[in-house]
């Protein structure tokens, strides 16, 4: 199955991409983060558990246990600073 992953703000810059479509076998947000951390030092550093970032699944805030299914839109971003 394929999912869409979006990155915003500092993470978009660090990862050098705003979005990507990627294969992902059914799992959770936690499993996706683990997969991304294995891409290399920038990824493992920015997405380490002690970093402050948020994950949304289909535009709703999620946590590590949130399930991901085919076609979902996952967004990973730093704490928000609007207003």
């Amino acid at each position: 199955m394929n999912i869409k992953v979006l990155y915003f703000a500092r993470l978009r810059e660090k990862f050098g991409r705003a979005e990507e479509s990627m294969p992902f076998s059914a799992g959770t947000v936690g499993a996706l983060l683990e997969l991304l951390r294995n891409r290399g030092p920038v990824w493992s550093e920015q997405l380490s558990a002690d970093r402050n970032y948020r994950v949304a699944v289909n535009q709703v805030l999620a946590d590590a246990s949130t399930p991901i299914k085919a076609g979902d839109e996952i967004a990973i971003f730093p704490p928000v600073t609007g207003g």
Binding site: F8, R12, N52, A56, Q59, A75, P78, P79, G82, G83
Partner: protein, 157 residues
């Protein structure tokens, strides 16, 4: 209810006039305008770029306004958040709440701003004399959000 995310500027008086139209029960309008100010964390700021998550930002703003409308007696609400490049003195955000009574209008307006600051997916990158930098989120904004969670509907300050 009017909620928009836009690059263009807004005119507070036009927005307030629209908010008032067709609401003869409205006795109070509390509003808020956020502006690009000249200093942040000690450095001079000359401009900023506001990025957002388009599919999510308006959705979150809607959810926030719904929470406020369930909590107090509110006639109508307008929220406008700008994105893109903004310079010193530019308007960033506008929230206006129309209600029969002023206390409801004030509380709803402040709650919407406090929740927007901590939940709506917008990010600021500032241009300072020291170069560009992403704005850091503030613990005081999170404290402001939390202050609404354990208070009754009409409570002392």
């Amino acid at each position: 209810m009017k909620i928009t995310v836009q690059e263009t500027d807004f005119d507070a008086a036009t927005e307030i006039a629209e908010l008032r139209a067709n609401h003869s029960r409205t006795g109070a309008i509390a509003s808020f305008i956020g502006l690009v100010r000249d200093h942040n964390d000690g450095d001079a700021v000359t401009a900023m770029t506001l990025e957002h998550y388009p599919a999510m930002s308006a959705k979150v703003l809607h959810d926030i306004v719904e929470q406020a409308m369930q909590r107090w007696q509110i006639e109508d609400v307008t929220v406008i958040h700008r994105t893109g490049r903004l310079v010193l003195g530019d308007q960033i955000v506008f929230v206006a709440v129309a209600a029969a009574h002023r206390h409801d209008a004030f509380l709803a307006c402040e709650l919407i701003m406090d929740f927007l600051k901590t939940a709506a997916p917008f990010w600021k990158k500032e241009q300072t004399a020291q170069g560009e930098r992403w704005v850091e989120s503030r613990a005081t904004d999170e404290d402001a959000r939390l202050s609404w969670l354990d208070s009754s509907d009409i409570s002392a300050r």
